[in-house]
């Protein structure tokens, strides 16, 4: 990619920080945007397919410069962890085996919900307000990372772990009919509802290597 322009931070609405819900201790300067816009052609070229197939990741190495946002300061959690972060240095050295190497998985929290995430697959999440299509996104709230031989358990978050994803489309859920009825009182309400959602495709999971892990002997 010839040039990589980044979304001018000012254009991204400050509400985005609330989506990823990083309440920093430090005085918040609203600079902790975790995604930038990338030119759609180059880095997303291989992601143009629209088939919702869960195929294996092509190459997570293809991408993505580590973006230069102020990540370390925004490791703090969100709704769940209200207290200051526990020393995540509590180790345990157990043994676990997982499908490894290219096959890692992570448990990530988006929009208040937790998902198990594999590189190369997509998932539907709540609508991310500031993100446009083909935006790179970095998810910081990684609660657990597993590889073939070890598991990194976060307390509550695996430190320095990040999941890279790209926004594929912003659509709506299928329609749900909300029908309210009270008998003998002549009360009927018929309302349709489509919840906005965002489809994101996971590119890779990084940054977990130095954290304490439980590994297989």
């Amino acid at each position: 990619m010839a040039m990589s322009f980044s979304c001018p931070s000012s254009s991204c609405s400050p509400s985005i920080t609330s989506i990823f819900t990083h309440k920093t201790y430090a005085p918040i300067t609203a600079t902790t945007f975790n995604f930038t816009c990338n030119p759609p052609h180059s880095s997303i070229s291989s992601l143009q397919f629209t088939t919702p197939s869960y195929h294996r990741p092509s190459s997570s190495s293809r991408i993505v410069p580590k973006l230069s946002q102020t990540e370390p300061s925004t490791l703090v959690s969100e709704d769940e962890v209200s207290e200051p972060e526990q020393p995540e240095s509590a180790e345990e050295t157990l043994s676990t085996t997982e499908p490894k190497g290219e096959e890692v998985f992570a448990v990530v929290m988006i929009g208040g919900r937790q998902y198990i995430v594999f590189p190369g697959r997509f998932l539907y999440t709540q609508r991310l307000k500031g993100a446009n299509v083909d935006d790179k996104i970095i998810l910081n709230k990684v609660l657990l990372v597993g590889t073939k031989t070890s598991t990194y358990i976060g307390k509550p978050v695996v430190p320095n772990a990040a999941v890279h994803a790209v926004v594929e489309e912003q659509g709506l859920d299928p329609k749900v009919v909300v029908f309210k009825y009270k008998k003998k009182k002549n009360y009927r309400r018929n309302i349709g509802h489509r919840q906005p959602n965002t489809r994101i495709r996971i590119l890779g999971i990084t940054g977990y290597q130095d954290s304490p892990a439980a590994t297989l002997p």
Binding site: E80, V81, I153, K155
Partner: protein, 122 residues
């Protein structure tokens, strides 16, 4: 709702409820009421299913397991825990060990039932 929409929603209903508008309308309204109520019930049901699965996955009981995780400030929710207990057994074992060291400490072994013959009657 007009008749076409009602009949579309009434597919698969039993008897005249899929063909005759008067009956179909009643049944469709009932079906929509049930779906409204059950969207809320589904959340409860799923949570109890996850708890059952987690309980099955740990040999320590569920309450102690969750207490141990709470103490260690691990914030995985029950949905993810049940998925891990099904598909990623080794990760789940790591979590169980964490919880054991956190809370009960020692490892309770489930008692093995002893086989007793008829001699106990004698």
């Amino acid at each position: 709702m007009n008749k076409k929409e009602v009949f579309k929603l009434a597919k698969g209903f039993r008897g005249r409820a899929k063909n005759c508008i008067r009956i179909a309308r009643e049944r469709v309204e009932k079906a929509l009421q049930y779906s409204y109520r059950d969207r809320r019930n589904k959340k409860r049901d799923m949570r109890s299913l996850w708890i059952e699965r987690i309980n099955a996955g740990t040999r320590v009981n569920y309450g102690n397991f969750m207490h141990g995780l709470l103490k260690e400030n691990i914030q995985l929710n029950r949905k993810v825990l049940s998925e891990l207990s099904m598909h990623e057994p080794y990760s789940f074992k790591a979590l169980v060990d964490v919880s054991r060291t956190a809370f009960p400490g020692n490892r309770p072994v489930p008692p093995t039932p002893k086989k007793q013959g008829l001699s106990i009657l004698v």
